[in-house]
């Protein structure tokens, strides 16, 4: 989905950042997350175009701990979570040139890489018969409330606000899916709710999110 790289020239990106900084003095409240978004996109552009190690180090510092805790929440053992986190960051480094800022925020792109590498690994494990999903010792900690999210990164701010605006029952379905890695039928078992109830919560949440995130076509 990121087949063609179309990255703004460095000069154009810096202009964008300049404009952003100029505007920040006027509306500092709402400008922050977007500035962060541009910063991440700029860093990705430098990694893609110039193999800029400092830019990559800044991305690593932000994303690596988050990828690792995403994997830990999905019952990946710590040593393996370290290996997979490195695999994800290595993929970010190697595929940086294919990142297209017009298509997605950096955080979303990194999330999809982490998700896909995790699925690949999980599917191999299932084939090898190594997984015991029922093992109570492998159950994760409950997900923190959306309000508690550290929201210093790009798009994440906007989305965290949209999530915080959802009724608790709809929000918890999304958290169980993304944080704990449960399918909608596993969520119905976990919450002891009919499948139809879970499906309607997903539909309601999606309708609200599409409105508040401006994804409604």
């Amino acid at each position: 989905m990121y087949a063609a790289a179309s990255i703004l020239p460095v000069r154009a990106r810096e202009d964008l950042l300049e404009n952003r900084r100029a505007r920040m003095t006027h509306d500092s409240e709402r400008a922050r997350p977007n500035t962060q978004a541009r910063l991440f996109a700029t860093l990705m552009g430098r990694v893609g175009a110039d193999r800029d190690r400092e830019a990559f180090a800044a991305l690593f510092e932000h994303f690596a701990p988050r990828i690792r805790s995403f994997l830990i929440n999905r019952r990946v053992p710590p040593a393996l979570a370290d290996d997979l986190t490195q695999d994800v960051m290595l993929a970010v480094w190697r595929r940086a040139a294919s990142f297209d800022p017009a298509k997605a925020a950096v955080s979303t792109w990194v999330y999809t890489i982490a998700r896909n590498l995790h699925i690949d690994h999980f599917r191999k494990q299932v084939r090898a018969g190594k997984m015991d999903e029922q093992d109570p010792y492998l159950q994760p900690e409950p997900a923190p409330e959306a309000e508690e999210l550290v929201s210093r990164s790009e798009d994440v701010d906007t989305v965290a606000r949209a999530l915080a605006g959802l009724p608790a029952d709809q929000k918890s379905v999304l958290e169980l899916a993304f944080v704990e890695g449960l399918s909608h039928s596993e969520i119905s078992t976990r919450l002891d709710l009919p499948l139809g109830t879970v499906k309607s919560r997903v539909r309601l949440a999606m309708t609200k999110l599409r409105l508040s995130l401006g994804d409604d076509a």
Partner: protein, 221 residues
Amino acid sequence: MTRRGNVLDDSWYLDYAAGNLESKAHDVIMASHVELSDEARQRVDTLERVGAALMGQKTASGETLGFDVDDILRRDWEEVVDAVPVPANDTDPDLPLPAPLTDWMGETGTKVKWSFLGPGLSKAVLWRGPRGQRLWLLRAQPGVSIPHHGHNGSELTLVLKGSFWDGETQYKPGDLEEAHAGVAHDIRIDEAGECVCLALTEGKLRFDNPLLRVFQLFTGL
């Protein structure tokens, strides 16, 4: 009145975006649908942003990583870049297969081998899984009908080329139909041209017509 059947229930997109589908075959058919359908892509985009926001939370314990950025750069230096998957070599201009499908076929060395399914119908099984799950291609001539049948399990059908009708609902390229276990339906291929679909079925089809049940013994579906 005609209707357009195009997207699935949102819970499918949630399972896909969160990486919680039950098998690789489900990943492949959903990724193909998302590749071909703008509406599906938009839903998945929204949900992937949610995934990124929920991944954005800091480690609760604040534990430090056991490795640093130099370890990544060292691995980049030491490890050979992954071989690019070899695309399936039997590309057929009349058979437009989406990239997620050809990528998977390239990785697994899966080939398309057509066999007779019925008059005007051929099938190519790509994958067999537990509980009688199969991922397969259906190729149908214009105007052909697949008579009244039910399913022992669920069925997903993604249109890759041409179009078909299920009752009054039309399915076009990129559209994905979900048929539930126990619900019988009639499929009619549109007159306009050949139709190719990617299907993921569980259990055998159940035809009402006893002659077709006998016929099934020979075709294996």
